[in-house]
Amino acid sequence: MTARVGVVVFPGTNCEQDVAWAVQVLGGTPEMLWHADRSLGGVDAVILAGGFAHGDYLRTGAIARFSPVMEAVADFVASGGPVVGICNGFQILCEAGLLPGALQKNAGLKFRCEAVDLRVETTTTVLTSGAERSQILRIPINHFEGNYVCDDATLKAIQEGDQVVLRYVENPNGSLDDIAGICNEGRNVVGLMPHPERASEAILGSTDGAVLLGSLLASAALAAQR
């Protein structure tokens, strides 16, 4: 039985089909979850896909965190379930308090849409368990608000807690400490600005995202056995 991966769709989400496709290509079974759902339907992992949930009004992710599905996601996180937020999904997880810090406008105020090199900083997370430490992955970014910020105490805590999951080799957006992705203390929630689903097939120009989503599927399969 393959891992069932819930892909959360808010009004304004626009990467859910790409994510679902990549999950399927990598051997998982994607299931769309509407933001108004109060249940995750027993999925083994959850991905919050990119886009502009609720139009990104007020702040990115600010309204999305109040969608009914987010209560179910918080319960799933508390039970140890693997959850990944990609781009707008990362912003939503931060607003929801499931990840520390926040994402603000890129330094330089440019929308950055390009492939970038990322360095894997830790492999003890649901998104990087199949990767190697210091491995370089070439994966596209596509965002205006990917500039990670947090206060000094939080930065120290995530550095010392090995919660920086991915760093940019060349910082494209002003992110603190070159952070491209982080995890929570439980290591079952990961947020990242780059889009691994857009680097999961050779035809897309890179398959470097496959090791990340493949890791999530492996985590989901483990969760399914529990």
Partner: protein, 88 residues
């Protein structure tokens, strides 16, 4: 219950990079305003709120700010409460 108008300003927390403020600060000297510094760009939100008194109106609005209107990780807010103008 009385009607109050709340004027809320949301700005960057001190020390948080404000890219928009930075761009404006670099643009103003091009117009001859070389004396400008410390430009910060924020948001202004206005709303009407029903409450028994001003203190209660302020308490409600500050709670809204903490829960939704501002993100305490990167933003600070100020709230001004005015008696609603009947001519609104």
């Amino acid at each position: 219950m009385k009607s109050y108008e709340a004027r809320i300003e949301v700005g960057h927390r001190p020390g948080i990079l404000d890219p928009q403020g930075g761009v404006i600060e670099r643009a103003l000297p091009a117009l001859g305003y070389a004396s400008v510094s410390h430009v910060r760009v924020g948001k202004s939100i206005r709303l009407a709120v029903e409450a028994p008194d001003e203190a209660s109106a302020r308490a409600q609005v500050e709670e809204m700010c903490r829960k939704l209107l501002a993100n305490p990780v990167i933003e600070v807010f100020t709230v001004e409460i005015l008696a609603a103008d009947d001519g609104r």
